[in-house]
């Protein structure tokens, strides 16, 4: 059997769930496993439930699955919420001190979950406590591995003569990880190495952590058997990185020359800006150091205004936001459109509407991105399906902006933002930089910023360029950029700008518009981060000798109607997979191809899709047992 294992760690926000998962991921990746991890958390700073599901495999994986094989719980809530996800043969490592905890003692459990849980326990005839829920797990064949986390600390405190250790409950995560590695039969060295590297600046902390890790690791190997799902050994693939969601676009921006990023903090987008700022000084080959100027603005209206101002100086400029912030940018987006300013808005979607589920996943801003801003103007809406892809796409988006002189909205989402994966090391050599008709010197005088040209794109000057003076206005303008209310000038200019759509469809390489992963009678259409779980679900079906096609639409506006039509011409059943309620790609599809989608697989709980869920829905569809709208619900 191949290795395919999901490890889940949960606990209150602020208790080290994330860093625990990072250590675990790092260790596994270091050994050579492929890693796919995802974080879920509340809109809260401390105390609410948060968890990280890390799937590891010896094959390339792109998603989470429903099943959990090994779970670490250092609080009651995690057990209540996730025990039922652990499969037969799997195991739960939990703090034995929690066993007596009653449902009502966990104040962070909301009443809706509580009542479902109680119903469930009632149906199983169990008491409303940790003990009760654990019994149900045990009955399903889950191994329970009670550990007193506090005792481990006490023992170690005694052993090392360091009484402080006793109360260090923030060590719980390291204990959990170490116990897990022991139970999984993985080597302990990578664990110690990775602790050392994480705390490289704080040797004392590193030392304590290593002691704890060692102790817990040994405790587990001594006390518990390996679980069924214990991983095979693997050999490490060269040039693999372990990378988080926001790093793809951030490193992409550094490489492709984005040098100015004004932004306003918002989940799940701000991490990108923070990361850019933490790496603001850039090494440049054969030149003095460069820099990315990252500015925290007073709001998103300012962020987009500043970005445009930066772009006018010839600087590759960008901002990064999410739904509410993007809404506030609608007006200025039109200004960039009418003035043909190349800018890139990296838009990490989350669950709307309004504040919605601010720390949860969603893909519900597609139609808004396409239509945002009053009036008609050209823009590009482009979506990436994975972290690795987002690195390369970032460079492309900047090229599109420069070449077509339009604002580009680069759609990503919370699922991508809070994933951590292994992938091939990004290759900057594969990135090209094409600034389109940006001028370094003015040849033809007088310079006219909006000169009518054969392809509808005018040579672009920038603030500071000699003889390259121009005017911009949000009003309709003449070729110089001065206000014009002349009706014929208006037609010329509208035609010029909106002719951009055809040009975009003609000039962007087809493979950058739509990626086809094979065709079959049944074909999935989708966009964005659903790609990962779809690919894995298709793989699962392939093992059963069932073929399902899949096209990932990356260029969503202007819509590559003819190309999509040609790809789908022999397809009988179209299945639209999206993380929203209305099936926005389906709407777009109908609008452009005139064809109805046959099935929707939709999820709008704010939790990302698993490949298991998609697989299950596809099976239903293939077996003619599906509803037109399959609504997915997995995930706490």
């Amino acid at each position: 059997m191949n290795t395919d294992l999901t490890w889940l760690i949960g606990g209150p926000q602020g208790s080290g769930v994330e860093s625990g998962a990072n250590i675990f991921s790092k260790v596994c990746a270091g050994i050579g496993y492929q890693v796919f991890g995802k974080r879920e958390f509340y809109s809260n700073i401390k105390g609410e439930h948060s968890y990280f599901a890390v799937r590891i495999s010896d094959k390339k994986i792109h998603s989470n699955v429903n099943d959990v094989h090994l779970m670490v719980a250092f609080d009651g809530e995690t057990i209540f919420r996730h025990a039922d996800e652990v499969v037969e043969g799997g195991a739960i490592i939990y703090d034995s001190d929690l066993e007596e905890t009653k449902i009502d003692e966990v104040h962070t459990l909301d009443i809706y979950f509580k009542s479902r849980l109680e119903k469930y326990l009632e149906s199983k005839n169990k008491e409303f406590s940790i003990k009760g829920i654990l019994e149900t797990a045990k009955e399903r064949g889950v191994t329970l591995l009670p550990v007193s986390f506090r005792e481990i600390l006490s023992k170690l405190a005694e052993d090392t003569n360091n009484p402080k250790l006793k109360g260090m409950i923030r060590m719980f995560n390291v204990i959990g990880v170490s116990l897990s590695l022991g139970i999984l039969g993985l080597d302990s060295k990578p664990l110690l190495d990775s602790i050392e590297s994480i705390f490289s600046k704080k040797p004392k902390v590193a030392e304590i952590n290593k002691q704890v890790a060692n102790y817990a690791y040994n405790y587990a190997t001594a006390k518990f058997d390996k679980i069924n799902f214990s991983p095979n050994s693997v050999s490490k693939e060269p040039n693999t990185i372990l990378v988080q969601g926001h790093q793809g676009t951030a490193i992409g921006k550094m490489v492709c020359g984005c040098r100015f990023q004004p932004y306003y903090p918002i989940t799940p987008a701000s991490d990108e800006s923070v990361y850019l700022e933490s790496n603001e000084i850039l090494n440049v080959k054969e030149d003095r150091p460069g820099s990315t100027v990252v500015v925290q603005t007073e709001d998103e209206i300012s962020a987009i205004g500043m970005m445009i101002g930066g772009a006018l100086t010839g600087t590759r400029s960008s901002t990064c936001t999410s739904g509410p912030g993007f809404s506030l940018m609608a007006e200025a987006l039109g200004w960039a459109g009418i003035n043909e300013v190349p800018v890139v808005i990296t838009n990490y979607q989350r669950s709307g509407p309004s504040t919605g589920l601010p720390t949860r996943h969603g893909q519900d801003d597609l139609l808004f991105a396409i239509n945002a801003g009053h009036g008609e103007f050209p823009r590009i809406v482009y979506a990436s399906g994975a972290i690795e892809e987002s690195f390369y796409d970032t460079g492309k988006c900047f090229n599109f902006a420069d070449i077509f002189q339009v604002p580009v909205i680069h759609l990503l989402d919370k699922f991508i933002a809070s994933s951590v994966i292994t992938c091939k090391r990004f290759d900057p050599e594969k990135v090209t930089i094409d600034r389109g008709k940006l001028l370094d010197k003015i040849k033809q005088k007088p310079y006219k910023r909006f000169e009518q040209t054969s392809d509808g794109i005018s040579p672009r000057s920038k603030l500071g360029l000699e003889d390259g003076i121009f005017w911009n206005t949000g009003d309709e303008s003449d070729e110089y950029g001065h206000i014009s209310e002349d009706p014929y000038m208006r037609i010329q200019m509208m035609d010029k700008r909106l002719s951009r759509f055809d040009l975009i469809l003609n000039q962007i390489p087809k493979e950058d518009q739509v990626v086809s992963f094979g065709m079959a009678d049944h074909c999935i259409i989708s966009w964005g981060s659903t790609k990962g779980p779809i690919l894995d679900a298709i793989d699962m079906l392939k093992k059963e000798n069932i073929n399902v096609g899949f096209i990932q639409i990356k260029l969503l506006h202007p819509f590559p109607t003819e190309y999509v039509k040609s790809l789908l011409k022999d397809v009988k059943t179209i299945i639209d997979v999206e993380a929203n309620h209305t099936g926005q790609l389906g709407i777009l599809f109908k609008q452009n191809l005139g064809r109805d989608v046959d099935y929707f697989i939709l999820k709008y709980t704010g939790r990302s899709m698993t490949s298991t869920e998609i697989y299950d829905s596809l099976k239903k569809i293939l077996g003619n047992k599906a509803k037109k709208r399959e609504i997915l619900t997995h995930g706490a």
Binding site: V255, C256, R259, D287, S291, G305, G309, L463, I469, H482
Partner: protein
């Protein structure tokens, strides 16, 4: 080669109302640019939306006519990206102190090296004379159906409270004085603000040219002029923060605030406050990015033959497993 005043003018037909105070402001800006001999391609005028918003089209430098209330955001973005440019933002009182007030406050905190000029006419000109934020409570211009229900904002006070490091007031019919103020503002190291009293003969029949001239309070028999407007510099007022001490700063701040409350029969113009001790934004950036001014965003080379030259190998190494 020295540039002439006329070099800073465009051929665009100016359609402001006859007698509008805006003309004087545009002239003063052009005169200032000419006197400082700033190459045309080294300056950019950003403007908001309103009658005043058309300003950028009349001046022959880069001219960016932005959105209502957003002029400061665009201008700051350009100023950060290319700090070698002389950046002047201009716009109406509605634009800057109504819809744009949030950016006004934030800009003060940043102190980016540029100049902001508000055309203060007490009304929303281009939308036909509604009250602007500077119109006083209870005043009723001819364009209003009933007296103004809002208290006025005090632009000088707000600028000082928001951290602007150069705060001055000019009068649009005193073009030479205004020109001098603009030059001082542009030369200031940091963010400079100019509140320009600008009569709107079409909609504001309260703060008219005559009113500023004080004809209503001038005793004709005495044959004296009683212009409401006077110059702070003529009174020995010292706006400058001379040394970095809390007491000095506070004194100059409060002095400016108190002066800003003066209105009615005496209206001060000139420089209210000037503080070059607070570091401009560029210097703050240089604490983090030492070569920022030498190699700002707009000057950086990012590619060679279509290939990136940024070397992220260290970052990628740190991610390598």
């Amino acid at each position: 080669m020295a540039l002439k005043l006329s070099d800073y003018k465009t051929e665009v037909h100016n359609d402001w109302c006859p007698g509008c105070g805006d003309f004087g402001i545009v002239n003063a800006i052009q005169m200032a640019l000419a006197e400082m001999n700033i190459p045309r391609h080294k300056a950019a005028i950003f403007s908001g939306i309103g009658c005043s918003g058309k300003t950028s089209h009349f001046i022959h430098t880069f001219g960016i006519h932005t959105l209502h209330g957003r002029v400061l955001t665009f201008a700051q973005g350009a100023a950060i990206s290319n700090p070698e440019m002389t950046i002047v933002a201009a716009g109406g009182d509605g634009d800057g102190l109504g819809i744009g007030a949030g950016h006004f406050v934030a800009a003060g905190r940043r102190n980016i090296n540029m100049t902001y000029i508000i055309f203060n006419n007490g009304v929303y000109g281009l939308t036909k004379g509604q009250a602007s934020p500077t119109l006083r409570l209870g005043e009723k211009t001819k364009s209003l159906p009933s007296p103004n229900t809002n208290y006025n904002v005090n632009p000088i006070g707000l600028a000082v409270a928001s951290g602007f490091t150069f705060v001055a007031r000019g009068y649009s019919y005193d073009v030479r004085h205004l020109k001098d103020l603009i030059i001082a503002a542009i030369k200031h190291k940091g963010l400079s603000f100019l509140d320009v009293l600008q009569p709107c003969p079409t909609y504001n029949d309260i703060n008219t040219r005559d009113w500023y001239a004080g004809t209503d309070i001038t005793d004709e028999s005495a044959k004296e002029t009683h212009s409401r407007i006077y110059k702070l510099e003529d009174t020995g007022y010292d706006p400058i923060v001379h040394y970095e001490e809390e007491s000095e700063i506070n004194e100059k701040l409060s002095q400016a605030l108190i002066k800003s409350l003066e209105w009615g029969t005496k209206i001060p113009t000139g420089i209210f406050y000037k503080n070059e001790i607070i570091t401009p934004y560029a210097e703050r950036l240089m604490d983090k990015i030492p070569n920022y001014l030498e190699n700002p965003p707009a000057k950086q080379k990012i590619s060679s033959n279509g290939k990136p030259i940024t070397d992220v190998s260290k970052i990628l190494d740190s991610l390598q497993v």
